[in-house]
């Protein structure tokens, strides 16, 4: 059973179709990437999933049942892109307070906060105020308050922005751990290399509509252009074959695009016939970044406002 199932969700504003008929599912224990350019409708979509906004139409199933914001909020942890904490409040108290609002008893909250603070080397922060923290420290605190109550669904909007590599890795490891323990994580970002590294499944949203859905592997397969890299011990004089086209040439490496109806073996055969020693041969899969740009290209950089008549 999926932890989250979103069916035909719609949310229209006065001048924009912020979310226009989006459906997807999130499996338990998976890390799910929600991608899209600025203004694609990601935040609106997330806000509907977290119960902040009501959808105009469509339904959200949480854990197999109709999503009930008040009851299910306990099982959701949400870290918005714009971090927010009470500046004047002491850090320990703040974390306990936010955990209590998620339904933990005071004793449990205090215990958990202490555990996490020890884990993240934050023990000495307890009595400090948020305004005393640097941006990265605030980020860590925000992450702790998000996952403290062991939610089944964790929604992280750009969790690594402002973090140095050490702390990034710390958080990344925690994300893996949480997923391993059965939490599902929705991960919204523009940083494609992180998505490739972390996510199992992605969807790409543009102009309020879903334009891509699949596992990272499948998506790459779907968008591959049959490009291969061939490394040879010596460069042949000329490369000419009906099997492939030569796309690029690097130091000791050729990039080839296999033509329709041919297989990689045909390429190898061709080079062997040319008396070349093949040192390496591998497929070049497109990066998510390339796919992203390819799909989103042509969209104006910022979304235009348009009257909605639906």
């Amino acid at each position: 059973m999926n932890i989250l199932e979103v069916n035909h969700l719609k949310k229209y504003y006065a001048t924009q179709k912020a979310v226009d008929d989006i459906s997807f599912t999130v499996a338990p224990g998976s890390i799910f990437g929600l991608l899209g350019p600025n203004g694609a409708g990601k935040t609106t979509l997330i806000r509907m999933i977290t119960g902040i906004f009501y959808p105009d139409s469509g339904e959200i199933l949480f854990n197999g049942k109709k999503f009930h914001p008040q009851n299910d909020a306990v099982h959701i942890g949400y870290m918005p892109e714009e971090r927010g904490l009470y500046k004047k409040m002491k850090i320990g108290e703040q974390a306990v307070y936010l955990a209590q609002l998620k339904g933990l008893s005071r004793a449990d909250a205090v215990r958990k906060v202490k555990e996490w603070f020890i884990k993240f080397n934050m023990e000495s922060w307890w009595g400090k105020k948020v305004e005393d923290l640097s941006k990265g420290m605030g980020q860590k605190l925000q992450f702790v308050t998000t996952v403290l109550h062991e939610p089944k669904l964790i929604i992280l909007d750009e969790p690594f922005s402002g973090l140095d590599p050490v702390n990034s890795n710390l958080i990344k490891d925690e994300i893996y751990q949480l997923a391993k323990r059965g939490s599902s994580i929705i991960f919204s970002t523009h940083r494609m290399e992180q998505v490739e590294e972390i996510c199992d499944h992605i969807i790409l949203v543009n102009k309020g509509q879903k334009i891509l859905d699949g596992t990272v592997h499948n998506v790459k397969q779907q968008f591959k252009e049959n490009l291969f890299s061939v490394k040879l011990d010596k460069q042949p004089q000329s490369v000419q074959s009906p099997v492939f086209e030569l796309i690029g040439k690097n130091e000791g490496e050729l990039i080839v695009k296999i033509n329709e109806g041919h297989r990689p073996n045909d390429v190898l055969q061709y080079f062997m016939q040319q008396q070349c020693n093949i040192m390496a041969f591998h497929e070049i899969l497109p990066s998510l970044s390339d796919i992203f740009i390819k799909l989103v290209e042509g969209t104006p950089l910022s979304r235009q406002f348009e009257p909605i008549t639906a």
């Binding site: 977290t50 609002l101 998620k102």
Partner: protein, 442 residues
């Protein structure tokens, strides 16, 4: 419910624990006590005694001009208009040589112009003496008899007895009622502003810190708003209760430090000062009398009603302030213009109150004390004049019910604005849009 309780607790504790709260709670009554004390002391000190030498060649005025705290008469023939200052006299009074009936030939020599108080006092004493003399000499009226007659006449007091139903009567006292009403209404006016803007700033802070989005993923926006309003209201109540206690303590201390004679003197001084209808003066006199005459005012009812009107007046306006706060973006200047429609009725209330307190039964006073926008201020001004004398029971009940109803309505309205505004960034919002948010179907 537990979530609202958590929010209330945080809003309350985070404010009560602040140093500024503790300071303002303790210092404000001290400040008032200090001002009061200073005013009293200045009044007491400014009642200086003027010493006059009297050259009474006829010997008639001896024993007839009586020294008082303000003016001392000294019958001393060695003083003349040259040496009085050197001898420590404010002035020297020459009475007519031969016939005291030559009333135009009294002369006072002094270094500086005599104060109004002093010269009036002296004139009074002289006219009294002459009057007594004439009555005695022309009509053979015994002075002792005359005194007792006058005493009797002066002892007549006018007391306003208010008929409450069949046989119940009550001592009326419009002077005290006026001051209590004025003070209570003003206090409500000030606190509406202080705590209202405190709510607004709290909401703005949450929105600008972006904590709002985290919060509303845990609790309903309505819970967040109500929690804040109730929490800050509790802060206000705490402050008031502490003030009441502190004022009681201070006034006990002051009463035990200032002997009653001085209060008496203050009263006298107040009466003596020229232009004694000035408000400051009356306030002091009123205060001096307050201890004696408070019995005419139903204090428990007024305190109870005060707390009610403070609380519900606050609740009525606080949610509106919260709605305004939720609509404000980064620019605090927006707050000013958005706040205006909320603050206007409060300011109107205080203007109406100043009128209503002079004429507490005028139709305007009656009706505005029922309309929830003004009732906390106007009704508090009218109440000390007496229930059911000035304010009928039905007026009080209707006023209270309409305020409760009004509070429910503004809270409902504000909640709808709030939940849209709190997450809307970057756009300057107008009142037209706020009203649209409030009344659109969800």
């Amino acid at each position: 419910m537990t979530k609202i309780w958590l929010i209330i607790k945080r809003e309350y504790l985070s404010r009560v624990k602040k140093k500024t709260f503790i300071l303002s709670t303790f210092l404000t009554p001290l400040l008032f006590a200090g001002i009061l004390f200073t005013v009293i002391m200045i009044t007491v000190k400014s009642v200086s005694t003027d010493k006059f030498a009297v050259r009474d060649s006829s010997g008639f005025f001896k024993d007839k001009l009586k020294s008082s705290k303000v003016i001392e008469f000294d019958f001393n023939d060695s003083v003349n208009n040259q040496n009085f200052a050197a001898l420590g006299y404010t002035g020297v009074l020459y009475t007519p040589q031969t016939d005291i009936n030559q009333s135009d030939s009294f002369k006072i020599f002094s270094k500086k112009n005599l104060g109004v108080v002093a010269s009036e006092r002296i004139r009074d004493q002289i006219t009294n003496a002459i009057e007594n003399h004439l009555l005695d000499s022309l009509y053979q009226i015994n002075l002792a008899t005359l005194d007792s007659v006058r005493q009797q006449a002066r002892s007549a007091q006018i007391s306003n007895i208010i008929m409450e139903g069949d046989n119940k009567t009550k001592q009326g006292n419009s002077q005290i009622a006026y001051w209590i009403g004025y003070a209570a209404a003003f206090l409500i006016y000030i606190t509406l502003f202080i705590y209202g803007t405190m709510v607004m700033r709290g909401v703005m802070e949450e929105k600008m810190n972006r904590i709002a989005e985290v919060m509303v993923s845990s609790v309903k926006p309505f819970q967040l708003m109500i929690g804040k309003i109730v929490g800050i209201g509790a802060v206000g109540l705490t402050q008031f209760l502490m003030w009441i206690v502190l004022v009681f303590v201070f006034s006990t201390i002051i009463n035990s430090f200032i002997p009653p004679e001085i209060l008496q003197q203050v009263q006298e001084g107040g009466n003596q000062l020229p232009g004694n209808n000035s408000q400051a003066n009356e306030a002091i006199v009123g205060l001096a009398k307050a201890g004696v005459k408070l019995s005419g005012v139903n204090l428990p009812l007024i305190i109870g009603c005060f707390l009610f009107y403070f609380l519900f007046g606050y609740l009525f306006y606080a949610s509106l302030f919260a709605a305004v706060g939720s609509a404000v973006n980064e620019d605090p200047q927006d707050a000013q213009s958005l706040m205006l429609p909320v603050t206007m009725p409060i300011v109107f209330g205080i203007i109406i109150m100043m009128n209503a307190i002079i004429n507490p039964t005028s139709p305007m006073a009656v009706w505005t004390s029922i309309i929830p926008f003004f009732s906390p201020i106007v009704m508090m001004a009218r109440l000390p004049f007496g229930v059911p004398g000035t304010v009928a029971w039905w007026e009080l009940i209707v006023s209270m019910l309409s305020l409760i109803g009004g509070f429910l309505f503004t809270t409902w309205l504000s909640a709808r604005i709030y939940r849209t505004g709190i997450l809307l960034y970057g756009k300057k919002v107008t009142w037209k849009e706020l009203i649209k948010w409030a009344f659109r179907s969800s």
